[in-house]
């Protein structure tokens, strides 16, 4: 089933007087399948964050339509069922928390939905379990690491029980350890709970873990393919100001020098295997 469907969507932010508004999203059509793991990449200003905010009706398209499980985001009556099916995690964990105690913050979403008390408690328990932070229930996020805070932000979204989770550069401010923690959590959600994940990032290592990559450039979809196929484009990606992961670049360079190595290598193990095989042959 299609989770999110965009049809010929345009969106422009208000421009200063005398300036022509530039389309941040410029004629995008796209379908996201339920249960898939999609990565969205692109340089600054390519329109990827704007795209994310169109998914749950935080922004409404100037023209074209965004449908979430058959509901149009322009339909005001359905905006809250749309927002409770598409959860969104933002870049800075500090700016998403409303309460100074972990459990209170996670309860914020379900409380807004007007759920009964025991259901809220059940959801808070479950959400904390899902991100592996149950023992922090009563503590305050103020002194936690970035990775922990971001996991709590994810828990806060999970308590709404969304079917799709959109991460808008949620790993950008974290150290490598924190990024790993967050990636592990969202992979578990995707694999075990069959949750649809749309991950906006500029870390190529995270992209290669997705099933599908959308490269944004100038508000348009430039490439839409599997990570392997995208990385295999090598030098071409420079046009969009992104670069494949180091392993792929290395394989590419070796292939350029005449080595018999595939250009679409995406992981360190694969490169290791390929080089070993090459050396054994000689």
């Amino acid at each position: 089933m299609t989770a999110i469907k965009l049809e010929n969507v345009y969106y422009a932010y208000e421009a200063d007087e005398g300036e022509k508004p530039v389309n941040a999203v410029d004629g995008v059509s796209l379908e996201v399948e339920e249960g898939s793991f999609v990565a969205v990449v692109g340089h600054n200003g390519s329109g990827k964050s704007t795209l994310a905010r169109l998914f749950n009706g935080l922004l409404l398209p100037d023209s074209g339509s965004v449908t979430v499980f058959g509901m149009d985001t322009k339909d005001e009556k359905q905006i809250y069922s749309i927002r409770s099916s598409v959860g969104m995690v933002f870049q800075n964990p500090d700016n998403q928390m409303v309460a100074s105690v972990v459990e209170d913050d996670i309860a914020f979403g379900p409380e807004n939905l007007g759920l009964p008390r025991d259901e809220i408690i059940r959801r808070v328990d479950r959400a904390l379990e899902q991100v592996g932070m149950s023992e922090y229930r009563k503590s305050t996020p103020f002194r936690m690491s970035g990775g922990q805070k971001q996991r709590l932000a994810i828990a806060g979204v999970l308590a709404i029980r969304p079917k799709v989770i959109v991460l808008d550069e949620s790993t950008a401010m974290l150290d490598p350890k924190g990024r790993r923690e967050v990636m592990d959590v969202i992979h578990a959600l995707n694999k075990e709970e069959k949750m649809t994940v749309i991950h906006i990032t500029h870390y190529m290592e995270e992209v290669q873990e997705a099933e599908r990559v959308i490269v944004m450039d100038g508000g348009k979809i430039a490439v839409d393919d599997t990570p392997r196929a995208v990385f295999a484009r090598g030098e071409q990606l420079k046009k969009y100001k992104i670069s494949p992961p180091a392993v792929t670049l290395m394989a590419d360079a070796l292939a350029d020098c005449g080595a018999d190595i595939a250009r679409d290598i995406a992981t360190e193990e694969e490169l290791e295997d390929a080089i070993c095989r090459l050396l054994c042959k000689d």
Binding site: R53, L58, S84, M88, F90, Q96, A99, V101, D104, A107
Partner: protein, 283 residues
């Protein structure tokens, strides 16, 4: 800057933390009023003892409470000086030097005013030390519910207040960071007279404001994304209800207030008796 403790929650479990947040807000308001009725040094000592006891019961380090004064130290000094030299009451003796006149009564008055301010701040911080921001929101919402009748959005106002409290440490951290960044680029913030110092703060204040607006923007998106106002009837995870411990806390607090009032109106300030007793003891 980082030492300003105001608005920081201490996540421990204690009888004070478990009190009904509405009661704690009422206590704090009553405490503020009571502070203006403290008449003697004995009274101030009693208030301090009371606060230290509350700290001990709440498992909050008293050091944290004392730290909260740091933020108002300039205010304290200015009020003390003004009270000292512009005391308008009757004076038994006057010591005059140039244009300054000081009397024992003025010293007494300035000291008491200073204690009053210090204890006011220390006492009110206990509320934020022991009450989470969403508990505060719920309590304010519940206490001011009648205002809903005249179309005041109590719920929104309560949320705004608790978010403001939650963001204080973050903004202080941000200010610190920006100050360091400007210092690293050669900004001089320590030397010069007061006007120069104020001017030197501009390159700090402007980025702090810009970042505050950016934070507010992202928070607004986050609130929307988490379905704020999705349902007209917002439910609560934590139920607020009075328990036995609330009654006990009320009795203890009432006794404390009673002694302060007795000291002022019945005993006329115990200081005199204490001095007398001390003198007779010394022979």
């Amino acid at each position: 800057m980082r030492d300003i403790a105001f608005g920081q929650y201490y996540p421990v479990s204690s009888p004070v933390h478990r009190l009904d947040p509405r009661l704690k807000i009422i206590f704090t308001l009553m405490y503020i009023v009571t502070m203006f009725f403290v008449a003697s040094y004995f009274g101030y000592a009693l208030v301090l003892c009371f606060l230290l006891t509350v700290c001990a019961v709440a498992h909050v380090p008293p050091k944290a409470m004392f730290k909260s004064i740091k933020g108002i130290i300039v205010l304290l000094i200015i009020t003390a000086i003004l009270n000292l030299f512009f005391y308008a009451g009757e004076a038994s003796v006057e010591w005059t030097w140039w244009i300054f006149t000081v009397s024992p009564e003025a010293i007494d008055f300035a000291l008491k005013m200073m204690f009053r301010l210090i204890l006011l701040i220390m006492g009110t911080t206990i509320l934020t030390f022991t009450t989470g921001t969403s508990e505060l929101t719920d309590a304010i919402e519940s206490l001011f519910k009648p205002l809903n009748l005249i179309k005041i959005p109590v719920r929104d106002i309560a949320l705004i207040m608790s978010i403001a409290l939650r963001f204080i440490p973050g903004l202080i951290e941000e200010t610190d960071k920006i100050m360091m960044a400007q210092k690293a680029r050669g900004a001089d913030m320590e030397s010069g007279n007061i006007f120069k110092k104020i001017k030197a703060m501009l390159p700090v204040i402007i980025p702090v404001f810009v970042s505050a607006f950016r934070k507010a923007d992202e928070l607004a998106d986050a609130l929307d994304a988490r379905c704020y106002q999705a349902s007209p009837k917002r439910t609560k995870m934590k139920k607020m209800s009075f328990a036995w411990r609330d009654l006990i806390a009320f009795l203890i607090f009432a006794a404390f207030v009673a002694i302060i009032f007795l000291d002022k109106y019945l005993w006329g300030g115990l200081d005199g008796y204490i001095v007398q007793a001390f003198q007779s003891l010394m022979g």
